[in-house]
Subunit: 285 residues, 2 copies
């Protein structure tokens, strides 16, 4: 029999007692620890290089990296084909309302835009995952590359959250924008991954521009160059005395890497291939 | 200006020539290498511990592991609450048509079921990702844990694919089942993550049962104990002379770990918490 009701009640009476019986977890009572011990899924203790406890659950020491700041920030894919132009002008037309809404509040703008930037990688990665399952085909590493991008954008958000707090109407806006953008990108990716990746490539070009403006405001002093949040220092392995300016620098480098990956993905489709035919740039930072 | 048309044409004339101009990638011509070099996203060369080239793009050496075969295969969550019973009987009622369809062809059954098993982790991980973005909240590591589960299931599929080839009507069935199950699980997770994780917990209990039957057939000799596919040997760090039986053993251990994680996730919700309040069991194999 696959289902042995209360099977291990006899084997581990003490553990059962802690959770109030194998089925008792449902009834509340018992702290998290007790459940962890019942299911045996105690999270591993992780320490930093200096031996102190690792304080983040959303990322682990082996996922941290030093951003490659030497990346060319000016690289641009000139729109030539019809689809390229659609992608280019879609992104350009989205910039106008964004500029009007945020003006020069770049900290706030960064935070809000990262909630959007983390959508395409997750949608693309998910669709490739399901495609891989349906077709019984390998992914060439692209599922993970796109999911990594989504996670990286989420880490950008977790960082900017520490510097600027969203107001209630901004939170409402995020919910609305995410609902629209998720569906739009989902359909776009199904219809034309070539177009979808090109759009992201251009979005990333805009992101680079926006972070460059952010840096200018920091240098002018109109935005205060506060100390870097602890999460950023751990994630990008930055010196402890780093500032917001250093954070914006590494985030901008990340966006340039996303730009490359997405324009590259679009190019692969343009050449009539599927992504899996070209090994994915996993861990490209 | 953020967009410098053909900005680096002058800087890297040779590279441009290879791809036929910054925009020329769209026009075809040029091999993958040329594009890689244009966007600078050359995939890193990865080698095995013995110095030979790593041959898999869909997973990397540092994602491989040795399965913990000592896990308790009999652990079972006795359904007590109404929702638990809904979850339990949903899974039990799905087993009947599965048994009728596959009979004792466990290799084929394993392959088909893995295409379904890889759905919940991806859906759950995606929904938590979007929730984290909307709420400006950390995930506690659960996004990654669920995405890891989805990837692990996909690796099960990539392994069984090597042993048994899907027929055309099985491919058609996978497309239909994925369409239904994706939507059903998506809605279930939105409505009640407690129920959704419980369903997966019971599905994994059934998977353990099914792999145990598979092992019996292998031992009886009704299914031939062929050598383990190369991908399995690399993914689970198995000895080179491993067989299909060894593969089924480690896959079954994986399912037992998924069972624990999902029942645990459901228990957290039952206790009135959200997943993020309890650190996720990342890398629980
Ligand atoms: Fe970003
Ligand atoms: Fe980005
Ligand atoms: Fe599986
Ligand atoms: Fe599983």
């Amino acid at each position: 029999e696959s289902t042995v009701a209360l099977g291990d009640k006899d084997e581990h009476p003490e553990k059962q007692a802690q959770t109030g019986g194998a089925s008792g977890a449902a009834g509340g009572g018992g702290d998290d620890k007790a459940i962890v011990s019942y299911w045996g899924v105690e999270p591993a203790k992780v320490t930093k290089e200096d031996g102190t406890e690792w304080r983040w659950h959303c990322f682990r020491p082996w996922e941290t990296y030093q951003a490659d700041l030497s990346i060319d920030l000016k690289k641009h894919h000139a729109p030539v084909t019809f689809l390229d132009k659609v992608a280019y002008w879609t992104v350009k037309s989205l910039r106008y309302p964004t500029d009007v809404f945020f003006q020069r509040r770049y900290g706030c703008r960064a935070m809000m835009l990262e909630t959007v930037a983390a959508v395409p990688g997750m949608v693309g990665g998910m669709l490739l995952h399901f495609q891989s399952l349906r077709r019984f085909e390998h992914s060439g590493g692209w599922i993970k590359t796109l999911l990594e991008e989504a996670e990286n954008e989420r880490m950008h958000l977790m960082t900017f959250m520490e510097v600027s707090k969203p107001r209630w109407y901004e939170r409402a806006l995020v919910v609305a924008v995410q609902g629209i953008f998720f569906n739009a990108y989902f359909l776009a990716y199904l219809a034309s991954p070539k177009l979808a990746h090109r759009v992201v490539g251009y979005l990333e070009e805009e992101a680079i521009h926006s972070y460059t403006e952010f840096l200018k405001e920091l240098d002018k002093g109109t935005i205060e160059n506060v100390p870097a949040p602890a999460i950023a220092i751990d994630y990008w392995r930055m010196p402890p005395d780093s500032t917001l300016r250093d954070v914006v620098m590494v985030v901008r480098a990340d966006e340039a890497h996303h730009r490359d990956v997405n324009h590259f993905a679009s190019d692969i489709h343009y050449q009539g291939h599927e992504l899996k035919s070209s090994p994915a740039p996993l861990g490209y930072h």
